[in-house]
């Protein structure tokens, strides 16, 4: 069993606490001059996203979480699972909808995502920061309006609905920022 001692603590380190995987968000060394030293840490539960405060005695060992972040290609969804492939081993990993979360709105086959594996199983999926998706439905815009403000909803091929400028037409391919969920530009081929 791999362990870390508190002097290896830094943000991003993955720990097992009470049987759940956590990542360190913040770590502070606390020591009264003549007293016991502690590490005061903020940790985020990798399953629930909840952030909690914990303190450890400095020098204490904590079990490492078998958590690995890796790039994987999204293959397809069979309605029950989303399938990702490790591009090095060609091994396929089914991810349950809970692990994929909101990322499903941006997932297009072949796209490379950042997948967090916990004990070899996908725990969370982060889509690429930018994706290019086709508009499948939007109301016709005002002809000739290519610059002025104003926006309208558009449905993309993955089912996501985003706000786009009025001049965007059905069938166009757009670049979208997945972190903000916002339109960036028309995709240049």
């Amino acid at each position: 069993m791999a362990t870390y001692t508190t002097n290896q603590f830094k943000s991003g380190l993955k720990l097992m606490l009470d049987g759940e995987p956590y990542t360190i968000v913040e770590n502070e060394f606390v020591k009264p001059g003549k007293g016991q030293a502690f590490n005061r840490v903020k940790v985020r539960n990798l399953k629930t996203g909840k952030v909690i405060d914990r303190t450890f005695k400095s020098g204490e060992s904590v079990e490492a979480a078998d958590v690995m972040e890796t790039e994987m290609q999204y293959l397809y969804s069979d309605g029950e699972f989303f399938y990702f492939m490790d591009p090095a081993s060609f091994e396929q990993h089914p991810a349950p909808p809970a692990a994929v979360g909101d990322a499903h709105k941006w997932l297009k086959e072949q796209d490379v995502c950042n997948v967090t594996l916990y004990n070899g199983e996908p725990l969370s999926v982060e889509p690429p920061p930018h994706v290019t998706l086709q508009v499948t439905q939007t109301d016709p815009g005002l002809k000739g309006d290519t610059s002025s403000g104003g926006s309208k909803p558009a449905t993309l091929e993955t089912g996501a609905v985003i706000q786009v400028p009025l001049f965007i037409q059905e069938g166009e391919v757009l670049k979208v920022d997945t972190r903000s969920g916002e339109y960036v530009s028309r995709a240049k081929d």
Partner: protein, 312 residues
């Protein structure tokens, strides 16, 4: 190391202010006829303090000082009189926003002073650097009770454990009674302290080098100053009885042995100096990097040090 991080961790204007503050401190002591002294940084004996780990120089096996206390007490026993020192100090493993394994201590001793008189002088010095402020004084026990915690002098380990379980942060497992006191103090008492606060009358077991209060031997004549929740200074009415000190140091050694940590020998030159006679005095050590960080309005000591530990 690729060398790309060669630049100082403090800005040039902060380093210039640091130099002015050091000059100000030297003037403060010159006005009071307190002698500036220098003692060796590397010494044959280390310290046995349970919670402080020294570092050793590999070639000679000598210890880098964790504070200049023992050498200065030898000077006091030899009759040097009131004295101060601005010295580097080294403590293994202490690294964070407010810690650096190598740091600068201002330590001074005043003959015939008791702890309250020395607290007055500490406030005057801190006022010179941070600007005038009000200093709240209360006992360790008083601050515990004000924070809604059990009485630290009488509560059982179970009662302290229960209080810790009710805090917003969860405590580590396996803390003994004194560990629980340290944890409650750091997590609950310190964050609630007034902006400038002297904590006095620490439990006697937390003050190896201090005299016990005659009125209540459960507490020691030890004080600490906290400014904005940062521990700045630690002072004592110095213990002058060598027999009593040897007993306490041996207990510390025993505790270090049971926790499988290095067990430095007792500094026999300090013991001999105390047998010769340490004059009645009070002494205090103040973390200068922390004081300067507060004065500069920054929130880590790295920003007032030319190069912090990771860049040294």
């Amino acid at each position: 190391m690729n060398g790309g991080d060669w630049r100082p961790t403090a800005r040039a204007d902060v380093l210039a202010r640091r130099a002015r503050w050091l000059a100000e401190i030297r003037a403060f002591f010159a006005d009071r006829h307190v002698l500036e002294v220098q003692t060796p940084v590397l010494a044959a004996a280390g310290v046995t303090d349970v919670h402080i780990d020294g570092m050793r120089e590999a070639g000679s096996g000598r210890w880098l000082q964790t504070s200049p206390e023992y050498a200065m007490k030898r000077l006091l026993a030899a009759g040097v009189g009131d004295c101060y020192q601005i010295a580097p100090a080294f403590r293994a493993g202490e690294q964070g926003r407010w810690h650096n394994p190598e740091f600068t201590l201002l330590e001074w001793y005043r003959l015939g002073f008791d702890a309250p008189a020395l607290m007055d002088e500490v406030s005057m010095l801190v006022d010179r650097i941070l600007g005038p402020g009000h200093y709240h004084r209360d006992s360790y026990q008083g601050f515990f009770l004000a924070a809604g915690l059990p009485d630290p002098l009488t509560a059982t380990a179970d009662a302290l454990q229960k209080a810790a379980a009710e805090a917003t942060t969860s405590p580590p497992g396996g803390l003994d009674r004194s560990g629980l006191l340290d944890w409650l103090f750091s997590e609950t008492v310190v964050p609630a302290l007034p902006p400038r606060a002297f904590v006095t009358g620490f439990p006697a077991e937390q003050a190896v080098l201090a005299r016990r209060e005659a009125a209540d031997p459960r507490v020691a004549a030890r004080f600490e100053l906290f400014c904005n929740g940062v521990e700045l200074a630690n002072g004592f009415d110095e213990l002058t009885d060598p027999g009593e000190l040897r007993g306490r140091l041996e207990r510390d050694q025993q505790q270090r042995r049971t926790t499988e940590r290095a067990v430095p020998g007792i500094d026999e030159r300090l013991m001999a100096a105390m047998a010769h006679g340490l004059p009645a005095c009070a002494g205090v050590a103040l973390g200068l990097d922390r004081l300067f960080a507060l004065a500069a309005g920054v929130d880590s000591i790295a920003e007032v040090m030319a190069f912090d530990w990771p860049h040294a």
